[in-house]
């Protein structure tokens, strides 16, 4: 395990070098990725380490975001909270709201806990438009980053470094937290609350505290978001935000430490890259999530860690002769599926339907090719790619299962 410090150092150096490596649009994406990564880490402290599933983390993210915008307007980036320290406002509000929400929701466990978090977040979301003073109504609240400490904070590069600093600090703190008695007890909460009770622990207080810490870091992520876009909008309280952080975290794997961060960064990255190409990124994300939950229950990063850490019993290692055709099958099926979805999306769009209303099926340009929606071949080719890929994967799996049975 001497490798780990070097890997971390390397990763931090790459993150520090990013502004010189990528375009300004990508730099903006990098900021978004960092924020999403932090949010996912905060979410997973609760859902992965402590095993309490929250469907309402948008509330704490959003409250952190609004608190920061209000703080920006109140302090003008000076005095008590100069611009670099503004995220503290978001973290503080996240913490306080987390204590209140956590106190109520951790009274129940399991599915009931999940439903209470959902109800609390939706309640806030439904109330927010009525509280114009706090949430700014439809338009939201905007503000400006003020110069402080000799930095202008006018460019994306400065915002990137500010975000990077806070995100690394927060992830570092979350890592240290896992090494403390409280962090260990979070695992106990996940594994067996009843036993913890009979060992003399105050389970409700522990749950509330973990919830509050999770909400605090979510608020911090919201704060960074506000600093980045210089505004906070009521949309940040939407179900969508809770959904995306949940999908991201579980796709990465909530029980391995950096899993959620990597999952969130990757998903945000793909969302950004494909935003010009597709309007249905959330659909892909949902499909990936369902597939991951069904076939890689530890999440992508979790599964990789498991496979390469040598914890698997002998004979269950990776076989190239199986892995390669499996990957090929997945790739073919994915290509077919993506083409289908994209074609459908274009054909079903309002503009196209208006065009096609006259009984004509004009051609579509997509991925540098032109497609004839009127011709059956256009649909048959991606469909057969999808079917072929799936058949390949199923075939390999069946053979692998047969082999395992034969050796057992």
């Amino acid at each position: 395990m001497k490798l780990r410090p070097f890997l971390i150092l390397l990763a931090v150096m790459v993150l520090l070098a990013i502004p010189w490596l990528v375009s300004s649009s990508m730099l903006n994406a990098a900021i978004q990725m960092l924020i999403a990564a932090l949010f996912a880490m905060a979410f997973s402290l609760l859902c992965g380490q402590a095993g309490m599933l929250s469907f309402g983390h948008a509330a704490y993210f959003g409250l952190g975001a609004f608190a920061t915008v209000h703080a920006m307007n109140a302090f003008n980036g000076e005095g008590l909270l100069p611009t670099p320290l503004l995220p503290l406002a978001g973290a503080a509000v996240g913490l306080v709201s987390g204590v209140v929400a956590g106190y109520f929701s951790t009274k129940r466990t399991g599915v009931y806990f999940a439903m209470i978090t959902l109800a609390l977040a939706e309640l806030l979301h439904a109330l927010a438009p009525h509280l114009k003073g706090t949430f700014g109504g439809e338009a939201g609240i905007s503000s400006f980053r003020m110069p402080a400490w000799g930095f202008g904070f006018g460019t994306a590069i400065e915002v990137y470094y500010l975000t990077l600093f806070w995100v690394l600090l927060a992830i570092g703190l979350l890592y240290l937290l896992m090494l403390t008695p409280l962090g260990r007890l979070a695992l106990g909460l996940r594994e067996n609350q009843r036993r913890l009770r009979f060992l003399g622990y105050n389970v409700h207080a522990l749950g509330t505290l973990i919830f509050a810490i999770s909400a605090m870091f979510s608020g911090l992520a919201g704060a960074l978001q506000s600093l980045n876009i210089e505004a906070a909008n009521y949309a940040e309280l939407e179900t969508h935000v809770s959904t995306v952080v949940l999908l991201n975290s579980f796709i990465g794997g909530v029980r391995v430490f950096l899993g959620p961060a990597i999952g969130a960064a990757l998903m945000t990255f793909f969302g950004h890259v494909t935003s010009d190409v597709t309007r249905v990124w959330l659909l892909y994300q949902g499909i990936i999530f369902v597939l991951v939950m069904m076939f890689l229950p530890r999440g992508i990063v979790g599964e990789l860690v498991e496979r390469f850490s040598g914890k698997r019993p002998a004979g269950e290692g990776i076989r190239l002769s199986e892995m390669l055709p499996r990957l090929a099958g997945i790739a073919v099926a994915a290509l077919g599926g993506v083409v289908l979805i994209e074609l459908l999306q274009r054909v079903m769009s309002r503009d196209y339907r208006a065009l096609a209303a006259g009984g004509q099926w004009p051609e579509i340009t997509m991925m540098g090719l032109s497609w004839q929606p009127g011709s059956p071949l256009t649909w048959l080719v991606p469909l057969s790619a999808l079917a072929l890929g799936l058949a390949l994967v199923l075939g390999v799996n069946r053979r692998a299962a047969a082999r395992r049975e034969a050796t057992a």
Partner: protein, 307 residues
């Protein structure tokens, strides 16, 4: 007085619809311990399928066919997704159904756009059933209520009078025992999942024409349906029925009532102060209607905890 009568009637019918959606969910929860997040999505799918089929087949075949399609989808989800993750535990199952709900919502947006569609009550059914103090009461509301009542009677008879019903009830009570007695419990689960989905689909097909049919209808309803299932007592059909009516009526009364907290303070002479505080104080109660399900949900969890 008539206002209250209308509100009560509307609430009752809305409650009956809620029950149609909740019935399947509560049975599934009772039997498998799965809180199916995608259940309200079945309601939405029912509405969209009926909307799509209506121009091709006419209204009546559409509201028969679309629940069947929804049932097929439900069976596929149970057989190929839920059963696969069953051994990972209930939280995992909840997550998978959550993912499926997201995918269904996104697919609906893909096919039909992110706006309400023009799914209307057919003209032959849109007439006034009766008129009270100058207000027409739409026949279609009564029709929806009748469908729900018929469904309740059908499920009740199915559960109490048939062999399948006995197996289902025993599977709710003790799945392992029912299986040991030689009943095919997985098949029963799949069947109940399909029927539950079909009921939700039927509710969607019927109600979608009257209320709105849009891609957010699933989430809006999901919360209410969860409240019903929790307040009604897990796995209890009668409880679900009562809870549905209670919530339907509360909801419909709240929309009709129009005061603010400030008005209440006004009664005790603090009106001016409340006005100066603004914010929550001056909000009309009816504008809180959207928040009501969530209040009910929290209240529901609170009461159940006490019990």
């Amino acid at each position: 007085m008539d206002q209250i009568f209308f509100a009560l009637l509307n609430g009752t019918i809305y409650g009956l619809l809620l029950f149609m959606v909740s019935a399947g969910l509560t049975l599934i929860f009772g039997m498998m311990g799965v809180l199916n997040f995608a259940h309200a999505s079945f309601y939405m799918l029912g509405a969209y399928f009926a909307y799509t089929l209506q121009p091709l087949t006419g209204f009546w075949p559409a509201i028969v066919l679309s629940p069947l399609l929804v049932a097929a989808i439900g069976v596929v989800i149970e057989r190929y997704a839920l059963r696969r993750v069953h051994h990972f535990g209930h939280a995992h199952e909840l997550l998978v159904t959550f993912g499926i709900a997201v995918v269904i919502a996104e697919l609906v947006k893909l096919f039909y756009g992110n706006y309400p569609v023009e799914y209307r009550v057919p003209t032959e059914l849109s007439f006034a059933a009766f008129t009270l103090s100058g207000i027409d009461y739409p026949f279609y509301r009564l029709f929806m209520g009748a469908v729900a009542v018929a469904m309740f009677a059908a499920i009740y008879l199915l559960l109490t009078r048939t062999r399948v019903g006995i197996v289902v009830r025993s599977a709710i009570y003790r799945p392992a025992m029912a299986e040991a007695l030689g009943h095919n419990v997985p098949l029963v689960f799949m069947g109940v999942f399909g029927i539950g989905a079909a009921l939700a689909g039927l509710a969607g097909a019927v109600a979608g024409a009257f209320y709105t049919t849009n891609p957010n209808m699933a989430l809006d309803l999901a919360v209410l349906v969860f409240v019903v299932v929790v307040v009604g007592g897990l796995g209890s059909l009668g409880g679900a029925m009562l809870a549905s009516l209670l919530i339907g009526i509360t909801n419909s009364l709240a929309v009709g009532v129009n005061f603010s907290l400030g008005d209440i303070f006004g009664i005790v002479g603090l009106g001016e102060w409340a006005g100066s505080v603004g914010g929550v104080m001056t909000m009309r109660l009816s504008s809180f209607a959207a928040t009501l399900p969530f209040f009910l949900m929290l209240l529901g969890f609170w009461c159940v905890r006490r019990a």
